[in-house]
């Protein structure tokens, strides 16, 4: 309550004189406010009170302070208790003075101590920041600030919001404020029934979570008409929410499908063209993921761009390893597919143990570039995570590139010739051995690229490949060997099937059901969804 009062006063005072106030804020900071000193002394449990006092004292001048604190980058120098901000992470940590931003290159990690922050405090800081940001320049920040306050509406906040609603130019923010006002009007029992009903009417097209919660509360309202209206509004909102949930589920399925596609497409090439079951395929993926790790290790300051280096690097590493395996082992086992299976399994064991020896059995840390983190918010109930969106696009891109390569290039022509009739191709002068090596290298290289993508989603460890190998086989066999289109369809079918089964059966049973389905399907159609047409006797 106290906080709200302060807030009310604050904003009231702030609006007309925000510039002037900011200036005085600077002044207090420079004079070293005693409140700031409190920050370095107070116990964590007493901190929320300090936050409130700071807000009252400095308002938006302290915004950078609150933000730094929220991010856990606020430190103080042990000797003179002045506040500093931590910059960078890992080994490249530097400090700069809070507020002035003066770099302090001489400051060592040992000389500073962190101003602690915990979940309770983070929540507090966030709402303080939201209140301050109601008057932010940036319209999306204002919108977020109003949304943050939706769950904490009361008379005072409403008073401020009403004021803001009149002045607001941006339509989105205005709508958001209107939602907040309606939500309050609907639940305010002092309002007349008609006002409340029209407010509920206004709310019935909002997808905001807090609106739904507010309406749910209203369904128990003493006023029967209001309760019924709230119920009705809720039903229509829930219908929309469910529709979006379906879209969400479809996206999950597509995303899982894209992962399966990436993991299995390399296998589709080696298996389809050479008839070789490469049990070390999973380890090619693993090598790609480790390559990403090594690339990030070499360019710690450019994580955002590291992916663009990692993709070709992973292709090269895994591809070369593939060529090596082909030349050393597989070419000697020609026409004995079962033996290749065993030999490549041996290779997979060796590769796993190799990375265990080189990189330790522990998982390695691969960071996500900032442009890949977060999600694309379409509306309050539907947001698509960016990394999965990129991976979906990436998988399709790789797929198309591969199809083009096989259809348009001379290598592709040779590959297709060998896959259709090896002996005839040989007779026509195609160097089948060279084609084999290149094909295997290409398949492995693509597995390496898949590794780069997977490093963004899961553990980078020696067992990475193992967890995808059986799934990849299933996709290839299901789709039909030697048919890239089949692999694409199979990957997305299995991904979506899995995700639509999961809510009813649970993750484990969904996986089992999909496996059993494939086993039965193969009995029915032994050559998969899209069998390769040809004249083979069997």
């Amino acid at each position: 309550m106290n906080a709200i009062l302060t807030l009310c006063l604050l904003i009231g005072a702030l609006l007309p004189f925000s510039v002037a106030h900011a200036a005085t804020g600077e002044a207090t900071v420079q004079s070293g406010s005693p409140m700031l000193l409190e920050l370095t002394k107070t116990k964590l449990s007493k901190m929320p009170a300090v936050v409130e006092k700071l807000e009252a004292e400095g308002g938006d001048a302290y915004l950078p302070l609150f933000r730094t604190w929220l991010a856990g980058n606020l430190y103080y120098v042990k000797s003179n208790r002045s506040l500093v901000e931590k910059m960078g992470s890992g080994k490249q940590v530097t400090f700069q003075a809070m507020f002035s931003g003066d770099p302090m290159p001489d400051l060592k990690k040992k000389q500073v101590k962190k101003v602690k922050v915990n979940n309770k405090l983070r929540g507090k800081l966030r709402s303080v920041i939201a209140r301050i940001q109601l008057t932010s320049e940036d319209s999306s920040v204002r919108e977020a600030a109003v949304r943050e306050l939706l769950a904490k509406l009361d008379k005072n906040v409403i008073g401020i919001l009403e004021g803001l609603h009149v002045k607001e130019q941006n339509l989105d923010v205005k709508a958001m404020i209107a939602t907040a006002l309606s939500l309050y009007a609907a639940s305010d029992k002092s309002n007349s029934q008609s006002v409340r009903l029209s407010a509920i009417e206004d709310l019935s097209d909002s997808l905001e979570n807090d609106v739904r919660n507010g309406l749910t509360k209203l369904t128990n309202d003493s006023n029967k008409a209001v309760a019924a209206a709230a119920d009705e509004a809720l039903v229509s909102i829930n219908q929309r929410v469910e529709r979006y949930a379906l879209v969400d589920q479809l996206f999950f399925g597509l995303s899982l499908g894209s992962v399966l596609l990436l993991a299995s497409i390399g296998l589709a090439i080696t298996f389809g063209v050479m008839g070789v079951i490469n049990m070390a395929h999973g380890e090619m993926i693993m090598l790609g993921a480790y390559t990403t790790y090594v690339v990030q290790l070499m360019m710690p300051n450019h994580i955002d761009y590291s992916i663009w280096v990692a993709i070709p690097a992973a292709f090269l590493v895994s591809g070369l390893m593939g060529v090596l395996i082909e030349r050393l082992v597989i070419c000697r086992l020609h026409g004995r597919p079962l033996e290749t299976l065993l030999a490549t399994f041996g290779i997979s064991l060796i590769l796993q143990q190799l990375v265990r020896t080189i990189f330790s059995p522990l998982n390695r840390q691969v960071s996500t570039p900032t442009w890949m983190s977060g999600s694309l918010e379409i509306n309050p109930v539907l947001s698509l995570t960016l990394n999965r969106l990129y991976i979906l696009a990436f998988a399709l891109l790789v797929f198309m590139a591969l199809v083009l390569l096989l259809k348009k290039s001379s290598l592709g022509l040779n590959v297709r010739a060998v896959s259709q009739n090896r002996n005839m191709a040989k007779a026509m002068g195609v160097k089948t051995e060279w084609v084999d090596a290149m094909t295997f290298g290409l398949g492995s290289g693509i597995a390496g690229i898949a590794g780069v993508a997977l490093s963004q989603l899961t553990n980078v460890g020696p067992n990475l490949g193992q967890s995808y190998i059986i799934d990849s086989f299933m996709v290839v066999v299901f789709g039909g060997v030697g048919n890239l289109m089949g692999t694409l369809v199979a990957a997305f079918t299995l991904g979506i099937a899995n995700k639509f089964l999961e809510p009813t059966t649970g993750a484990v049973l969904a996986a089992i059901l999909v496996l059993v389905f494939i086993i039965l399907f193969i009995q029915k159609r032994p050559k998969g969804l899209f069998p390769q047409k040809g004249r083979a006797a069997e």
């Binding site: 065993l342 041996g346 290779i347 064991l349 193969i522 069997e538």
Partner: protein, 377 residues
Amino acid sequence: MIKLLNWFSAGRTSGKYTLPFVVILLSITVLASAANLLLPQDSALYVSTYSITLLGKYLCYAMLALAVDIIWGYCGILSLGHGAFFALGGYAMGMYLMRQIGDRGVYGNPLLPDFMVFLDWKELPWFWLGMDQFWFAMVMAVLVPGLLAFVFGWLAFRSRVTGVYLSIMTQALTYALLLAFFRNEMGFGGNNGLTDFKEILGFDLQADTTRVSLFLITAILLAVILMLSQRILSSRLGKVTLAVRDSEARTRFIGYRTECYKVWLFVYSAVIAGVAGALYVPQVGIINPGEFSPINSIEIVIWVAVGGRGTLIGAIIGALLVNYAKTRFTAIMPDGWLFALGALFVLVTLYLPKGLMGLYGQLTSKRLTKGEQEAAS
């Protein structure tokens, strides 16, 4: 008796080693058992109980390898899921042993195994009923793997799923079972599996005599199955399966219903794997879903490949050797073992396509041809 042995060991040339091999196997077994039971602990020739259980385990693996060799070596079906049949047999035995605990479990519940009590199960699931009868559990140990193999084989072979497709399907089968048995709702103890067994048929499982008896039974059964398989495979049926292995299409065109031969051989092999599993569990004292893992099944194949496929004895020797090496090397250099195992896979497939038995055959035939040449000159 001799007639019977002759009947068992009659047949193809590779069968000529069967009888001597069985004699050696059984005499070693009897000697080791006697050395464990009769000699004092400080005697130089004493065989510890640890070694007995270890040998017992190896023999179970050997039986499993034999099962794989029967279908891979003689019929060309590379099963990457034989661990599943082994584990199913093991679970049947494990369920019997679990029921034998009775009210001696930690919660003292006379009916429910401990894991069901602490997961709050109220009554025994239907598939546990009857498992307290030894004969019933043993029938299940054979029947369940057999039935699964029959259904799977019937579907797969009839629709002519062959080669690597079949291998991958068997792998998917064991993987699906692995996931299923990991689930606690299945009622098989989840990840922990079944353990803490007390007695079998009233005999204390921790007594040396029980252990030695189990070891002896395993050896005898292995010998019987070896001879029986030898006999079957050298009969008319065996010749047809060889024909299927070498060219299924031609055999079919001659007029044989190849899928029938394949299904029955597959079922026979799965039953042997089930028996091996049932013998394995009381000796190692635990059965859990890990036995279903695809890697285990692939490892069985490598035992056979090392020993030499299509020789039966080779499979047994391969299983014994690789597992002994594993026991030794994981102790000396745990990190190196996977390198060694991986290299073994690659080298055997590249340079020893016929395994150790093939190597032995090559050496002896070289010596023979050399001798013949000398005689001729």
